[in-house]
Subunit: 341 residues, 4 copies
Amino acid sequence: MLSFENDYNVGAHPAILRRLSETNFDPQPGYGFDRYCESAKEKIRRELGDPAAEIFFLSGGTQTNALAISAMLRPFEGVLCAATGHIASHEAGAIEYTGHKVLPLPQKQGKVDPQDVSDYLENFYADENRDHTVFPGLLYLSEPTEYGTIYSKTELQKLYEIANRFSVRVYIDGARLGYGLCCEESDLTMQELANCCDAFYIGGTKVGALLGEALVFPRGNAPERFFTLIKQHGALLSKGRVLGIQFDTLFTDGLYYEISRGAIERAKELRAILHEKGCRFYLETPTNQQFILLEDEEYERLSKSVALSFWEKPDRSHTVVRFAVSWATTREDLEALRAIL
Amino acid sequence: MLSFENDYNVGAHPAILRRLSETNFDPQPGYGFDRYCESAKEKIRRELGDPAAEIFFLSGGTQTNALAISAMLRPFEGVLCAATGHIASHEAGAIEYTGHKVLPLPQKQGKVDPQDVSDYLENFYADENRDHTVFPGLLYLSEPTEYGTIYSKTELQKLYEIANRFSVRVYIDGARLGYGLCCEESDLTMQELANCCDAFYIGGTKVGALLGEALVFPRGNAPERFFTLIKQHGALLSKGRVLGIQFDTLFTDGLYYEISRGAIERAKELRAILHEKGCRFYLETPTNQQFILLEDEEYERLSKSVALSFWEKPDRSHTVVRFAVSWATTREDLEALRAIL
Amino acid sequence: MLSFENDYNVGAHPAILRRLSETNFDPQPGYGFDRYCESAKEKIRRELGDPAAEIFFLSGGTQTNALAISAMLRPFEGVLCAATGHIASHEAGAIEYTGHKVLPLPQKQGKVDPQDVSDYLENFYADENRDHTVFPGLLYLSEPTEYGTIYSKTELQKLYEIANRFSVRVYIDGARLGYGLCCEESDLTMQELANCCDAFYIGGTKVGALLGEALVFPRGNAPERFFTLIKQHGALLSKGRVLGIQFDTLFTDGLYYEISRGAIERAKELRAILHEKGCRFYLETPTNQQFILLEDEEYERLSKSVALSFWEKPDRSHTVVRFAVSWATTREDLEALRAIL
Amino acid sequence: MLSFENDYNVGAHPAILRRLSETNFDPQPGYGFDRYCESAKEKIRRELGDPAAEIFFLSGGTQTNALAISAMLRPFEGVLCAATGHIASHEAGAIEYTGHKVLPLPQKQGKVDPQDVSDYLENFYADENRDHTVFPGLLYLSEPTEYGTIYSKTELQKLYEIANRFSVRVYIDGARLGYGLCCEESDLTMQELANCCDAFYIGGTKVGALLGEALVFPRGNAPERFFTLIKQHGALLSKGRVLGIQFDTLFTDGLYYEISRGAIERAKELRAILHEKGCRFYLETPTNQQFILLEDEEYERLSKSVALSFWEKPDRSHTVVRFAVSWATTREDLEALRAIL
């Protein structure tokens, strides 16, 4: 069946599979001490222009979020997050499982406003009872957000400046980072993003890898004994090479960006088709996900020929669905969609 | 460099890489709802003769242990385990991180004795203060053990019977299950092992996969909403297919056993070489790991040409090292080792 | 200094101190197995007309909330709570520390609306992605609420009925239960309240005791091995008698209600004085707490002669303060306040 | 019934009850900010000759242990403890509930040997796989131990010196500290003990208080925002004064030591009686607890007229019981015991 369900519905970019085969019989140490991990880290450090950056390869987004956030928080702290943020609403309580509260912030189209963050923090420190409450220790952002929207460079800088003023650290979830950086509306480079946070991750799973996220602590500020924490959280792969080989490939000859740009091209074509067919955009975004409002019967009918993602029910007779494209979406897929719509 | 360091020092069995390529562009639902996972589960259920078995694919051993054990325990319970068990000593406190105590049992060559388990449980229930202590809720075993030794069918049955008598459940860590089942000294089938426990996992990472373990709850007794718990622990892969495809391959035409038997063959040859060269066995085992006592200088010298695993220091001048073979070890590797020794 | 700061600013009702002295040298078993605890439990069971009710004496409200809620929740569940509920905002993340998410509900004057609860639960079960999110397992209410407002019998019944429909359990925080039950506007008895929930606690600390809350699981449905969980959470007192003696006294000859009614009388007099002096009520309540809006300078001036509780800052130039009375507030205190205002 | 069951079988020292009554109607701020807490802290600081000592009053021993230890440990660390230590065996897994492992050490009569600690730490840092295991972050000691034995000044100094050498901190559980310091065999003052550790607590519950332990961080090194952590763990009493008044009384005119010496006197008389009656000491100790080996029938018979504590069953026909005295034990109690034996 034709699928616009998500950006993780097929395997990996062929270059990755090729590289896994080529390196298959090279014996290497386990747990990420292999030469592929080393090489991948080196390439990412170069990309960021940050020789002190500390990089860890993990398997998935929720794992990376829970591990990084819990390691960065002190025991009396919680994490600020848009009420629609992934950790607030779609990770089955993974952050709370580590003992920390997610402190919800107002949001617009998935984004938090610097003014709201500033107000929250000022009110917090004006409250005489604050010692009886959870301290805000970290600000969680995502680029792009869960709604496919993006932060501008100025917005990120402002958020980082506000956070710093209150000794709050900033963490950026980059599950789809490539799509955020490579869309036309973005004025950010990965290096600039790294300069506006204390940690972020470069999403691999949704940008061409079989699995894998590269967690980066810029400027050498990884939490103490982070390797042991990875093990403690059950997140250490014996064959760390599996992640290293993939990121080494993604950061060779700009493959990560090439993949991302391809998806953004397809997304533009998708938007054109959706407009042409008179679909009602619940949210039109600059990245690879588009949100369309359908009547429930339309949704049901369409579901028979195209795999889509249920997003939410704004009322009793409508459904919001997500159309996603990825590096693997083809022109043929789009033509087939046009025919169906 | 020649490597006998462990059984996870290369990539995957070529059949797995081939299958990943073949299926790469087939769009499938995420999170393990793809048809490869379904097919793999079906094959494992058939292997176990247990149509009600519930199966979940996870990424690694520590993750599987922590997730399964914490889900099986009630909040006032801990897990019984040989003092040398993997969860007791080599997982960075992953079980305690979930809030549960590991209750150490005496061990011999990595194995627990049914009598010791029975004594522990009888003493526990004879103690008038037991309500102030951790209740034993689960018995953790590994097959083969961390020392490469194996339980016989009779031993497992006895352990399961004792555990049942005290309402203690049994969980078997099968990180290297194939090597345990396929060695000559074993009188167990996978189905018989499944009948002696409430959960176990079939190790993939160390038996030919890139990564992956198949957690099995025989006879349909998975913990409630285990899928959501997988997500909560950060253990859910978006591309669940990556695990499904591998296990589907491993359980097609007996590949899992073929791989395991191959390693056991190499292990026999390794033992022969080690004996021939007069090495002192700290522990000679029926499976794919052998433990050799070396003088520290010998260890240092040997380390220059062969990658080995440090195991422990029994005294100030000796080191115990582990020689491991795997499905990927070749006759040439063994000849090279012979030459070096 | 004159104090209307809270309802826990003095010691205990004199009858309690007397009883502690009288029983002081009677040797009794520890950990709540003394005869005073037994007697107190028996009296509460009689009060509730529920011979199967299981009762545990604990030290404080946050402790009771965290212990009861975490024991009642399954690992994949969270607790629904008004966004202003005590566990959501004033307990330093104690619930999250136990690994569970607090799921915020809309509120009015501290109360949740049955319709909002019903909508939440219907939407939750209509969401196709719910297995990736936290399941609502418990509804936390407080009677009276943090804002001194109360639920009627009909409201509680409706909430309990809705919760039951979705297999959600109900827990009622009764830190100030006496004041809620004894105010004129209330149409509830303790027994009726017990019939509308799966657990609740009878607040002692704020209703005449030195410390202590009586956690009740009506109709015999305490979580398994709750005694051991109390110990595990560090909440078990060696001298359990200290709590038993106090609750035995409070439930002898209706002292609990006598204390509560006294405070409600004082509260009515306080409201009259505040009205008489033209104070602006931010919230006027039927119970023992009143919320007054002051200009910041007024607040500062008043603070010099009367101890009050800072509540919140609705804007940059005003402060909301709480005036609280208790069983120990005297007519003289009120006259002194009148003179100051 | 005559009771030698434990040292917490009656209420409080009469001076404490008196003081609770005298101060009952003095309105004071909550949460430990009252003047009694302040005064008590000041007296303890003077006792320790340490004006920078930070002191927190908590309700019970397990609570204090879990809170202090979890706050002092970093997430990748565990706590070293004699296998018989209270946190290892009698606190229902309260430490593990906070996510940390208790690392058992060999013990003799409840004490750990400096050499064993040193060996453990040396082996740990010699292990090449240590990053996969729990780091020892804290050494838990108790004075006196669970077996009533005591450490000498030299032993404590040696243990502290070894711990420091490996950046391990030292915490001393002083549930019965008074009895440890005031026995004839002790060569320690409270100040000297404070100099040999990073935190300890002065037990109140078992030394004359209704409840309460004074947790001390000498030289001003309390964990960050410890007040908020107390709240988060459900350990903050609204009426903090209840603990402050008690410790203020205990540290006025040396009452704490007077109480302790009285118990030690009674303990000497108890030992004389037990010897005189030919009882078999399982362990004779310098403090207020004695361990006697009884045949099971003797135990059963004696239990009818004297409340004793079951300790353990060394074999199928014998029981070890604990005889405990306290500040409240009288000469008459001892004479009555003599008559029964």
